[in-house]
Assembly symmetry: C2
Homo-oligomer: 212 residues x 2
């Protein structure tokens, strides 16, 4: 295996691999084949093997992959064998729900601070986190050594907030606003929009209905 650029689709699948491997490990399974992984991931065995081959040779012919070992390797490759510091911007209904959601910390994503423009929210504590003035974000982000930003503001503020996060040196942004912000090269954005997800399914529902 020579180092090549990894296709982005592969990077998007890696977390799913980790997710099922962790489940297998939790269940006490020691070894898994590309065939079985394929079934669990709704993918072909060839795709599993090809994807993994971008990063190394983790399997043994005739046996398969050792679950705990492959899991450890993938966690390292993805950089999730460490903790990441996160800030949230926008402490409305959605932002508050994110702060109280317990799913981030166990995976190593620690939301250390939250920011909002509304002064009436400053000083409040929501799920262990203090809400601060957005004006403080740059100094706080640098003090805390923040890597990742979560954006939960209205569409109209999204681009401005993203620009601000980028200015703070943040290079990875999880965006809950229904808007695709523009960012400079080297900044990564993932959008979460349940409405968009629903709308891409209604196309199929409608098409199935139209079928005679």
């Amino acid at each position: 295996m020579t180092t090549t650029t990894i296709p982005e689709v592969v990077v998007l699948r890696l977390p799913l691999y980790v997710r099922v491997l962790a489940a297998l490990e939790g269940r006490g399974q020691g070894v898994v084949s590309s065939q079985e992984l394929g079934t669990l991931l709704h993918a072909t065995p060839a795709q599993i093997r090809k994807d993994l081959s971008y990063f190394g040779r983790f399997g043994k012919q005739g046996r398969g992959y050792q679950v705990s070992n492959l899991l450890k390797e993938l966690r390292h490759i993805m950089g999730i064998d460490r903790e990441w510091s996160v800030v949230l911007v926008g402490v409305g209904q959605l932002g508050s729900a994110i702060l109280t959601y317990g799913g981030f910390a166990p995976q190593g994503f620690n939301i250390l601070a939250a920011f909002d423009a509304d002064p009436s929210k400053h000083g409040a504590a929501i799920g262990n986190v203090l809400v601060q003035d957005i004006a403080q974000i740059k100094s706080e982000a640098q003090r805390l050594g923040v890597h990742i930003g979560i954006v939960a503001v209205p569409v109209s503020h999204c681009q401005r907030v993203v620009d601000l996060l980028v200015d703070c040196g943040i290079r990875a942004i999880l965006n809950y606003a229904p808007y695709q912000p523009t960012t400079p090269p080297g900044v990564w954005v993932r959008d979460i929009d349940p409405v968009v997800a629903l709308q891409s399914m209604t196309y199929h529902l409608k098409t199935a209905e139209d079928q005679w």
Copy 2:
């Protein structure tokens, strides 16, 4: 244009087209070129034109696309020029947040009922919706003519709940559990997992760091 199977990637982009077109319409813009749409969508003009060409010829040479007309057409194609009936399963912290989230109804997705297995939650009203016993779901789903299910239950219950929804005749599922359920052909699932989204970015953060 002859009727071809539409690539799934195109279907996934359609909602984004609608989103920016709606913004342009709200701003009072009458006409838009593939060039400008491309900028707003972070896509090439050629891709915009090719995508749209799967569905018809909506533009005028030398001018571009009439915003309100294209918007209307796309909404019809996607089946979002109508209302859809939705049920939610799992009224925990996440499920409650979904019920009180105001973003679905304005887009025509009406959450009509919610279900949970925990009897202590039955009868509660959260955001206009009554929480009912999961045992009632089939009769209620049929009575209400439900099209779409939202799953907000723990991983351990996800597959069982999805099976149940499919049994209710539901063919589109928005899944918030960190697990990819298995479904029969003709059933559409979209997964929302912010942790997976974050993890696919840490790969890049780590890789950028490793660069010397």
